[in-house]
Amino acid sequence: MDEKTISALREIYGERLKTSLEDRICYSYDATGKEFLPDAVAYPLNAEEVRRTVFLANERRFPVVPRGAGSGFSGGSLPVRGGVVLSTERMDRILSIDTENLVAVVEPGVVTETLKEEVKKKGLYYPPDPASLKFCTIGGNLAECAGGMCAVKYGVTRDYVLGLEAVLGTGELVRTGVSTVKGVVGYDLTRMLVGSEGTLGIITKATLRLIPLPESAATLLAFFPTNEKGAKAVAGIVEERITPCAMELMDRTAVDCVRQVADLSLPDETGCALLIEVDGQEASVARDADRVEGACRRFGALEVRRAADASGRDKLWALRRSISPAIRKVNPVKINEDIVVPRSRLAEMFAFLSGLAERKNLKIVNFGHAGDGNIHVNVMISGKDEDERRRAEEAVEEVFRKTVELGGTISGEHGIGIAKAPYMEMEVGPLGVSVMKRLKSCFDPNGILNPGKIFLEEAAVRR
């Protein structure tokens, strides 16, 4: 980036433009562990500054990469081609919470948990709950279409967006969608932008849908001797016509991990743990919990624990929460995939994964949102052994092939970014990719926004 460009940017941002190596290093990474140094970092405060930046970028041809909290797992916020990182963390106001129309209007830098807490104070609920909700931002959630545990009942970020304000790749400020529940005027540009990973537009404001806060919840933790029995119980619960708000499955590899770090007094023969949460009105919660418990026992649960009060529920969740820290004890480097298969194929997928780990001599830890078929496949490697890394990459490709074969999708909630770009065509086919590229050129003809993402021939290689 030349001096002239920097000084033009400084005219927009003043002190809020950072160009020192130290500041740039701090915006070179995300949770993928990869690093790409930007040429500059700016902290916009409003849509006008973003608009001027993208306009300038078209004039002087430099990449603009929007960034929320940098907590993504697919590299969406990495400046793989340099350019300027627009960190939205200072655009963090909740502009309104409308209790009559059940709508919130927020800036992109609002932390997801902050929004959830603020609407909760008014008896309302913003359901999306990605695991990083304490620090990830709404802007990032929208750009990646974040999911979470409650997706099985409540859906994902996409299901709670009514309208957006965004700066397109041309520097034009567009308003999409509505602030009402219904709206079918023309193409659904809102949904185009959600999950577009910052490649079509930079979201500067979002109108979000809220729902009433469920009045109570109950949590159950069931232990099964095998993955197969656990996976069958998942299907059994669904067949009971109950929709839990969370159904988290940990397979034997994950159970063995947590057994090592914490004394959770699991039954000795535990080969699979299933955590189920039901919510709603108090009477229905109790009834649903009974039926869930019955289903677990029918499918061979060794033990079922249950809690309806906050502290008891918290204790049951401890097992699930201890997985992420525990798996790093297996090996330091985590290759984290988030495939989804139809619920009815879960048992098959788990069997495939355990065979794969054996065949490739790898440590693979699986857990995830079994209620919606979303499994986090974590290939844990030392990071020092080249052969191990090669085997891991082969394994990941096999996992994706199997996923597509079972009628699933290769990314449920992390996005493509750079991490999954090589595999996208496997799922959507050449025509699918081609249509997406044509759309991209409509929104961003000069390829200014977040270049190097999603599409393979532009994808950056690991540094």
Binding site: E22, A31, Y43
Partner: protein, 422 residues
């Protein structure tokens, strides 16, 4: 310190971003360079030789309160404090430590005489240049803006320190050693005295550690490991030779040094390691001693209906957080003031002092501190008690800035007060 050691520590960071949720400084800065993840990336870059400007790196590493929240929240148990202190030392070795810090940490702090002389000089300077102001916690001086002290208030320094005030032969021998700490000896001798008097109520002979060097924490956080090690060596040798049963600390930060940071200075196979472990195992906080030695059970019943719910407890980050000693202090308080104690609003928020941080960025330190004090006062707290010298210095200054009628005390003062009712 070898680069490999540091690299092994930083390698545990998965760059997930959890540290952003708990960082005391992040809401002030709203920039990644202020959180642990960013600082660890900078250290990694420096280790790889990608350090553009070491002064800027040092500046970034210094911009931290070392409150330890990120470390406790970290899902990967990254040792952030250790990494930052080692990082600061590494950079300091390359760019040097400022001359005034070299004299302070290397000459003044390790020596009891040196510190006495320094207090006398500071006391004189205070009378000459600063303006007297009365507050709920006693007389303070407010320095004029021109001094680079930006209008801050500091307590009136006493003519004599606590240890100096002991009679010859008083508190000279005993199974329990009281490690007063520089601030409670020289700046708030009242706290040193209250700790001593209340500990005596245990019935055990108490020896005040007269030849103490500074605990070494200020030097360590400034990246001056050499001076810090000198303090540690002096202290460990003398405390080992004293053969005490227990060593009690009224200051949480001094205790942190002996319970944890000591082992970074004296790693395994260090000739002093065995003695350091011996000493460290006998160190404990003031509240734990008061509880376990039965002083609390011997206190007279607190007066009913006095200051109900007006006395709060501020959790010092190192003591309540890192060392997990928050419950003990509260139990002592309940014994000493009964219904006077109530959980304070924002009790576990960092006071914003951060030792050297308060010197390098007083404005930010004061914003964090004022917020803390205002929150507490808004919740009805009139007396903030705590158990750390840094927190007391900061909270008194913040009270003077926001609500001078607020009282800031050490829990030992409340225990001593309760005893005096006997």
């Amino acid at each position: 310190m070898k680069d490999d050691e540091l690299r092994a520590l930083t390698g545990a960071c998965a760059k997930c971003g959890t540290c952003r949720t708990v960082c005391t400084l992040y809401p002030e800065r709203k920039a990644e360079i202020s959180v642990a993840r960013g600082k660890i990336a900078l250290i990694d870059a420096a280790l790889e030789g990608r350090d553009g400007n070491l002064d800027a790196v040092q500046e970034a590493l210094a911009d931290c309160l070392l409150c330890g929240r990120c470390e406790r929240a970290c899902p990967n148990q990254v040792l952030v404090e250790e990494i930052l202190m080692k990082g600061r030392a590494d950079v300091a070795r390359k760019i040097g430590i400022p001359a005034w810090k070299q004299v302070l940490f290397g000459k003044v702090m390790p020596s009891p005489r040196g510190r006495e002389a320094a207090r006398a000089a500071a006391s004189a300077a205070q009378k000459l240049f600063a303006k007297k102001i009365p507050t709920g916690s006693g007389l303070h001086y407010r320095f004029p803006e021109a001094f680079g002290l930006a209008g801050r208030t500091v307590p009136k320094l006493p003519a004599r320190g606590f240890i100096e005030s002991l009679k010859p032969g008083e508190a000279a021998a005993g199974d329990v050693i009281l490690f007063v700490g520089c601030v409670f000896d020289h700046v708030f001798p009242r706290v040193g005295r209250a700790s001593y008097e209340s500990m005596k109520a245990s019935g055990k002979p108490i020896a005040v550690f007269r030849d103490a060097a500074c605990c070494g924490l200020p030097a360590m956080v400034s990246g001056d490991r050499e001076s810090s090690l000198r303090c540690a060596e002096e202290n460990v040798r003398r405390l080992r030779a004293a053969e005490a049963e227990k060593i009690v600390f009224p200051c949480g930060s001094c205790l942190l040094m002996f319970k944890r940071n000591l082992f970074s200075l004296v790693p395994e196979k260090h000739p002093l390691r065995e003695d350091a472990v011996w000493v460290s195992n006998r160190c404990e906080d003031y509240a734990t001693f008061i509880l376990e030695s039965g002083v609390v059970s011997r206190l007279p019943d607190p007066p009913e209906g006095e200051k109900v719910g007006e006395i709060g407890y501020h959790d010092p980050c190192h003591l309540s957080g890192t060392l997990g000693k928050g419950a003990e202090a509260r139990e002592v308080l309940e014994g000493a003031v009964g219904s006077g104690f109530a959980e304070m609003k924002g009790a576990d928020l960092c006071c914003g002092y951060g030792g050297t941080f308060n010197v390098r960025d007083y404005d930010t330190s004061a914003r964090i501190g004022e917020n803390k004090v205002s929150l507490a006062a808004g919740g009805g707290t009139r007396v903030i008690s705590t158990a750390c010298s840094g927190c007391i210095l900061q909270l008194r200054d913040m009270a003077a800035r926001t609500d001078p009628s607020l009282e800031i005390v050490h829990i030992a003062e409340l225990v001593a007060g309760a005893l005096s009712r006997r």
